[in-house]
Amino acid sequence: MNPVMNAVAHAAPDVDLSVSIGGLKLRNPVMPASGTFAEGLEKVMDFNRLGAFVTKTITRELRAGNPLPRVVERPGSLINAIGIPSKGVRYFVEQTMPHYAAYDTPLVVSISAPTAEGFASLAAELSIPGIAAIEANISCPNIEEDGKAFAMRAESTEKVTRQLREATKLPLWVKLTPNTGDVPEVARAAEAAGADAVVVANTILSMAIDLKTFKPCLGNIMGGLSGPAIKPIVLRQVFQCAKAVKIPVIGCGGISTAEDAVEYMLAGASAVQVGTATFLQPAAMTTIIDGLRSFCLHREIPRITDLIRGVVIEEADEPDLAWLDPVS
C-alpha cells in the first residue's frame, strides 16, 4: 500500500455539508435569521464558516423602528417588536455591503416594502454584484390590502412574488409568516409565482402584560415570539410546506442545537436559519455546524442532503382528517 493511500484510508471520513438552495450553493446549511445578525458577530466567529449571511431587513426609506421597550422575555422565548429600523437602501449598499465583501460567504439581503411594486423596485435596485440572493420578508403589512401582511394570504403572496420575480434574476427566497392558517397554501403560491425557496418562518404574533403597571410589556403592544418555545409549531409548518412545494424550504424557528437543525431537515428543510439562539450563545451557528458534522459522522450519513425530508412516516400511520387539529 503506498503512503498516500494509507493516509487516505486512515483519515476520518468527512461529511459533505454543502446544500444547494435554488441554484445557490452553500458550504453548509446554517445561516443567521434576518434581524439577528450583524458585523458584531465577527468578533465571535469566523464568518467564512457560515453557509450564508442574511442581513436585517432593509427598506428603501429611512425608518426609526418601534417604540421601546422592544423586547420582553418569557420562559424559553423572546417577544420582540423591534420593527425595521432602516438606514435605507443607499446606506446599505455603500456602508454595509463592503463589510461583507471581505468574505467568501454568499450575502443574502432581506428586503421589505409596503407594496408589491415597492418590493419589486427594491429587488431590482439590489440585483447587483455582491448580493447572492434576495430574501423577501413579506410578513410586513401590505398597505394595498387593508394592512394584512402579504404572507397572510396566498393571493397577496402570489402577487408580490410575481412582481419580485420579474424584477430580479437573483435567487429569490420568500419568507413566510407562521401566523396564517394555511402556510403550505401560501408556500404554494410563492412557488407558483417563481420563488426559488421559502423561508418558514418569521415570528409568531404574541403579547405580554406587565402585572405591576397593567401595561403591555412592549412599546408596540404586540410582538413576535421566537426561541425554543416555538420550535414544535414551526417544525410542523416546515413539514407541511415541504409536502406542499418542490422548491427548497429553509427552516427557521427556535433552532439552538445541531439536533434542532437535524429535526428541521428531517421534517423537510434544506437549510436552517438561527436567530434567537445567537443572543444566548453567540457562537451558536458554528457550534451547530460542528454538531451537524458530528451527527452525520456518528450516524454514517455521507451527505447532509440525505437528511432532507428524511422523516419516516409509516403508511399505516398516515392520518387523514384528524390532521388539522388532532386534539379537536
Binding site: D46, L68, R70, F279, T286
Partner: protein, 292 residues
Amino acid sequence: MSMQPLHQGSLAATTGGAGAAGSCASWKASVVAELAEVVSHEAVNGEYRHLVVRCSAEAAAAEPGQFFQLLCPQPVGEQPFLRRPMSLYGADPDKHQVEFLYKVTGAGTRGLDTLRVGDRLDIMGPLGTGFVLDPSWRSIVAVGRGAGLATLAPLAKTAKANGTRVTAVFSARRPDLLVSVDLFHSHGADVIAVTDSESTSGPANVERILRRLIADGACDAFFTCGSSRLMRVQQRLAQEFGLPGQVAMEQQMACGIGLCYCCVRDFNVNGEIVHRRVCWDGPVFDLMEALP
C-alpha cells in the same frame, strides 16, 4: 476548589477552529462566551453582591466601561431567558479574573445570587466600548449613583496607573448602600458621599460640590453613570466650563453585541436626534450627546 489553572476553552474559540471547511486559519475570537469559574461571591450589603470569576485571557482583557452579558442560573420558580448585562467592576489579566458588582433586582440577578464558589457561570464579553482616559488629564471627577458606581469603579485603577487624580461623588439612598468607596480609596481617590437619607444628594448640592471641584482645578473631565438627574447637572457644567465628559448608559439588552437593535437610545448629535445601540455604540457615550 481545584488548584489547577482553569483552561476553559471559550465556546467561540472552541468552535472557531477545527474541521472548518473554508475556515480562515488566522481568525481569532475577541469576544468569547465561556464557562467561567466562580472564585468568590460575597454580599456587600443587603442589595449588592461582589462576584469574582476565573476566565479566559480574552475576557480578562476587558477595559473600564466595557461590560459582559451573563447567562444567569435559574432561581427557583423563575426562568430568566436573556443574558443580563453587567459592567466590568474589575479585571486582572494576570490572574485571569474579572469581577462584577451587582444589585439583586429581578429573576436574573436572583439567579446570579445562587452561585457558589466553584460553580460555573457562562459569561460573554468583553462587550462595547469603554471609557477613554486621556493621559493629559491631571484630574477627573466620577459621579455615580446606584449600580453606576460599579461601572465607574475600574476607572479609579486605570486613572491611578496614568497618574490621573480621581474625585468620586457617590450618591445613594442611605450611607450603608454606598458601594466601592473602599475600592476608590485604595486607589488613592477622594470620595464625596451624598445620600438621600442625609438630604445631601439633591442636584443643587451636587452642583455646588462639582462647581467647587472645578474651581479647585480638580476636574479636567466628567465621568458618570447611574443617574440622569446628575448627568444633566454635569452636562450643564460641562457646557458652561467647556469640559469634556463621558457617560455610561443603560438599556435593556437582548444580544449585547449590536445585532438586535433592542437597546437603542436617542442621542443628540449636533442638534440631530439619532438612535444608537447602547451595547455596540456604547455603553460609554460622549456626555454632551446623551439624552436622559
